[in-house]
Amino acid sequence: MRHKLKLVLVLVLCAWTTAAAQTDTVLIDPVSAAPVLPPPLPVTNLQAQDTDNDHGHAITLTWEKSADDGAGRNSVLAYEIFRWFPFQMDVVDALRKSVSETRDAVRAFRIDLPRAEHALRELREDPGKLRTLRFNVARPDDSTFQLTADYAIRALEDTIAFIREHGPILKNRIKPLQQDLEKALAELPQAYADYPRDGEWRSLGKALVGSTSYTNTGAKESTDKDFIPDYTDLYYRVEAITVDESIRSEAVTVGPVQSRGQWFHAGRVPVLGFVLMFFVFTLTFVQMAKKGANLYVRPLSGIEAVDDAIGRATEMGRPILYLLGLGDATQVSTIASFSVLGRVAKRVAEYQTSIIVPCYDPVVMAVAQEVVKSSYLDAGRSDDYKQESVFFVTNYQFAYVAAVNGIMLRERPATNIYMGKFMAESLLLAETGTLAGSIQIAGTDEIAQIPFFIVACDYTLIGEELYAASAYLGREPVLLGSLKAQDWAKVVIMAVALIGMLGTALGWPAFAQLLQVTG
């Protein structure tokens, strides 16, 4: 019985251990145990062409997706793009880096030398100045090191001697390095043409899964490390890669392809169309105006008030303050303001009132002086013109405002005219003008400042009205003709917007796409 019990126990034990052995988690080596992914299928129909509508130095690759991208084995993670680089590029890179580093070193020496010399002079005169030394003396890499005056003096002497010895050597090295760089760059096209000898494939980057194009954009400066030379044979390669980057498709190569700049940007044709439309409208209406056509323009209260305001100033014997804003002479709103200033100055000259024009920019001041002077000449009052009436204040926003505020409170102009580009100071100026009791007429195209002018000024010209003001004031047929052209352009905008909206509503996007400007 005892023997049978032992046998049963042994059998149970064997059975148990065998079962346990079968249910235990076995540690499997994932690499050796994982099923080996076959490489994905390569891309097809790989093409390379010069990127359109650019200044050159760019190539666009297009391809059809790998059959394993979103289908088939679905194993593609990305596409890696390679370009063939001749080893000559490494020579160019090394030379470029040398030139740059040598220049930096020479520059650093030039700054450090007088400082080191001065620091040495100070320490020799008074070693106690070690504490306030303004030069970083080279020290050993030891945290227990204590800097002493003697050590600092010796270190400074060594530094100065080093700079004096090596500075000229480095400086003389720059030109030969530059010449070598130029020579190496000149040899690049030939190096590219030697494909596939003396070069290697280098990765440019990856395109995401699902992509069918990639643009390799290089720098145009030959001294840049990303430089792609134009009119040079280039070769590209695309490989589909998986999660394990070592498993990748067969490489598909394309080339030779050359990059070059285009002479016409086809993506900007809509803009060209509108430019030509404007030209035609402007020239047509200007011709009509010259022939005596009656060109009606509706009244603008802000413009009509200018005459009254100038008259008021004359009666009160107080000057007119004209501000051209914070723009410089390159801004169109300032140019528009010059036109208005010319007409206002002419009326001021006729009424024999005075005008004050404080300017923010010296070039604007120069132009404003010309404008006001010729207005006085036109009015037959050239003797009344004072150059000091148009003057430069400062090129700092709030200093200008402070000065103009002071002028407003002291000179007490009867009329303030603000025409041009204004920023945060618009409210400060307008409120101070109100405090001074002036009539204020403002015109700006800055949308953020229009509310403040509307609130604080008597009359405000909003946006486009500023640009129409000179035509209103002068009433010259040529300018009125140009105003008509603007209005007809608005009609075109409204018509185009209506057609475009209807087209979008009816599912006809072609019209909207016509107006898309690329690049």
Binding site: S222, T223, V271, Y296, T394, A399, A497, M501
Partner: protein, 277 residues
């Protein structure tokens, strides 16, 4: 200067001198006097400008004139270092670049343009700049028109095309909003009619309002026709929408402006007077 003005002046000087001394004592450490002086100077400038709110006074005039002088000089110094030394010198002369210790960019990779090194062409703007200086000579002032014509002409051409693209063509494209949003028939539209913000009705109304708003705004800026009848009505609607915009813009800016004042008051009460932590 009246006696009252003199007394006020003396009192103000005494008050600021006292605040300087107290500030120096509170600050302590190295350069306490110097740092306290600088803070007191800032506070004086701040209060001098703020006194403008009361009325024009000698302290405001002083601060204003100092502001103009220092700012003009600052602009000149920065212009000298960044434009003349930083931009002009490296392009025209290697020797000058060496003198000013700036990297000579013209010598990077020199090339010839019409058989002359291209950096020689930088002499043209220098000549134009000298012509600009002729403004200071009364009889030769007309010569300055040439550089002015260059500046104005260049940027007129540049801005013409730039604003045509950004403010004209791109804006027109953006106005092509769909009138019918997620349209599956009139029945479906009625069935789903609601005022939910992300609903079809609200989206369609939004697009319609934007489109009509743009049209009416443009009609308001029409100069060639009198604003009467239906045209006047559309123009009036346009200006109303413009006024809503300007009101919204005004309201939006108020908070920002108040925070500027809070900043200055914080400086006065905390950094100068030390009565705020």
């Amino acid at each position: 200067m009246s006696r009252l003005a003199v007394v006020v002046f003396v009192l103000i000087c005494a008050a600021f001198a006292l605040s300087w001394a107290v500030r120096a004592g509170v600050t302590g450490g190295d350069h306490a006097l110097r740092e306290a002086f600088l803070v007191t100077l800032s506070a004086f400038m701040t209060l001098a400008i703020m006194s403008f709110m009361y009325r024009d006074n000698p302290y405001y005039k002083f601060a204003e004139h100092l502001f103009v002088g220092i700012s003009a000089a600052y602009w000149m110094c920065v212009g000298f270092w960044s434009t003349i030394v930083g931009n002009l010198v490296p392009r025209i002369s290697e020797n000058l670049s060496e003198f000013f210790k700036v990297p000579y960019s013209g010598g990077g990779l020199d090339f010839d343009l019409f058989f002359l090194p291209y950096r020689y062409f930088y002499m043209i703007p220098i000549v134009l700049g000298i012509l600009l200086l002729m403004r200071l000579v009364p009889k030769a002032g007309w010569l300055s028109r040439w550089p002015l014509a260059f500046i104005v002409g260049t940027f007129a051409g540049l801005n013409l095309i730039r604003y045509l693209q950004s403010d004209f063509v791109n804006q027109i494209s953006a106005t092509f909003v769909p009138l019918f949003v997620e349209w599956h028939g009139f029945g479906d539209f009625i069935g789903q009619l609601s005022l939910a913000a992300d609903g079809q009705f609200v989206a369609m109304m939004t697009n319609l309002i934007i489109f009509l708003g743009v049209l009416c705004g443009l009609i308001y800026f029409f100069f060639s026709k009198e604003h009467t009848g239906w045209f006047g009505g559309a123009s009036r609607l346009g200006i109303w929408i413009l006024m809503i915009t300007f009101g919204a813009s005004f309201g939006y800016t108020v908070m920002g402006r108040i925070s500027l004042l809070v900043g200055r008051l914080t400086f006065l009460f905390r950094d100068w007077l030390g009565i705020m932590s």
